[in-house]
Subunit: 151 residues, 4 copies
């Protein structure tokens, strides 16, 4: 959508949100296992990159849809987490992914953005782009509901 | 749902469906990477097991939702693939996952079942159960649309 | 799925759950508008019927997918509402619908069932069956997240 | 998402796409029943408006989520239909809706846009905005898969 009405200018309730996101991301062992890197943290917006690796593929040599979902889910989750108070944990309630094209490329970039923050529930969206040479192709999308859990 | 109207008695169009599913599963490098094992193949129904590994976790030590989605997606995909003609490839069009409880346990079992086969599009569902000692807990569900691609 | 592990034997926290569901259903003006009827209320399980009407169709004469979603959403919502304390309201957070066959028939029956109740969030599933003469056909499914709101 | 990479400059394969969309929309009896109006047709982008009516509400007086889904589904469907050849029919395969806020307002506007056209499958997104006086509020989103059916 062309979303002129969306400013994405969220005020984080925790000024140290970026450090908090980076710390939590570093504790996601799966990100190390698949080689995903946190490359951008803004209030309500998180970017994760994943270089192609043969060990992440499905039977046709493309990145498995579940791996695509993994980094989009983390991108959505941390986008929401960046807006939560420092005392909160983040849980994914649900997500839906549409696979638009085979995930073929040299690297993949998941961008997650909060569309609607709330007290306990956050709605976020992510896109996954595949990059090769000069090209940048949208290959998947996600919509997700995240929850802030106190304690 | 209690689904008395569902027989799940599908006739596979390819009598060698099980061998075909096993062969393709063995070519999904991601399954080796995460340690997932194909433990059951029936017409329209596939079961995948995943032992707990610390390297698959998110920040709280549970299996990452994307990893749960990975094995549920493969379970749905191969459930559909088992009913396709031998010449077809399988693509995931979309899936949605609801995370019902933290994926905590010693091992995880994804069961995927076709609910509605079609010429090109298949609808499948999966459940993910977490096992520890005697307990068996439903922790996630998936609904998915798969496509048979000729060639 | 064949769900041997699911008992659907929920204990309602409000013994008057059925009256409460019926009262709220009668306040959904849209149900009167489309001619939907509440035909079954059990703890965590609600059934809604809709006779075919030409005024509910899309361009090919089938019931519009949004109308199918309308009664499946109410079936899921009231299945969750039946398990909530009497002081709670119910809100739909999200739903996903797969349309498996054209909604053609003399009447349509949506059955919604809670799969996972919670303190604030409920996960429910619905199926829509189309009936004509002796036949009963699954034409759509829904998965939904509902929230109990106090006050 | 801020989607700088999306041009939404689709080339319709049928130059008479707008007339075709309007004709088909007029044949959706449900649109007359609920009072929805087609207010914009561009290649790959369709806008539908719905004035508030008490007869479309749920128990709290808001527009029922299924009615919101109804006009978002038609917006997605006709956005896809606008790009299809003149011989094709359009079917919805699946949609997912996130309800972000109560659908309260004087009127509601669903905008559906194709994000990824294909030979047979189209991916589209919709947003639902509630309007009152000067305010315009995002209250729901949809992602949908549509299919072009020949004949």
């Amino acid at each position: 959508m062309t979303r002129n009405d969306v400013t994405n200018q969220f005020e984080p309730s925790d000024p140290d949100f970026a450090a908090r996101v980076k710390q939590s991301f570093s504790e996601q062992a799966i990100m190390h296992t698949i080689g995903a890197v946190l490359v951008g943290v803004e209030p309500g917006r998180v970017q994760i990159e994943l270089p192609y690796q043969q060990g992440l593929t499905q039977q046709d040599g493309f990145i498995h849809a579940g791996v695509s979902a993994t980094i989009m889910d983390s991108a959505c989750g941390y986008a929401a987490f960046s807006l939560m108070p420092s005392s909160a944990r983040v849980l994914t309630i649900e997500f839906k992914t549409n696979l638009l094209a085979p995930a073929a490329g040299d690297s993949f970039c998941a961008v997650g953005e909060v569309r609607k923050p709330g007290r306990s529930l956050f709605f976020a969206e992510a896109e996954l782009h595949a990059r090769r040479d000069d090209s940048d192709k949208l290959v998947a999308t996600m919509t997700a509901t995240l929850m802030a859990v106190q304690g």
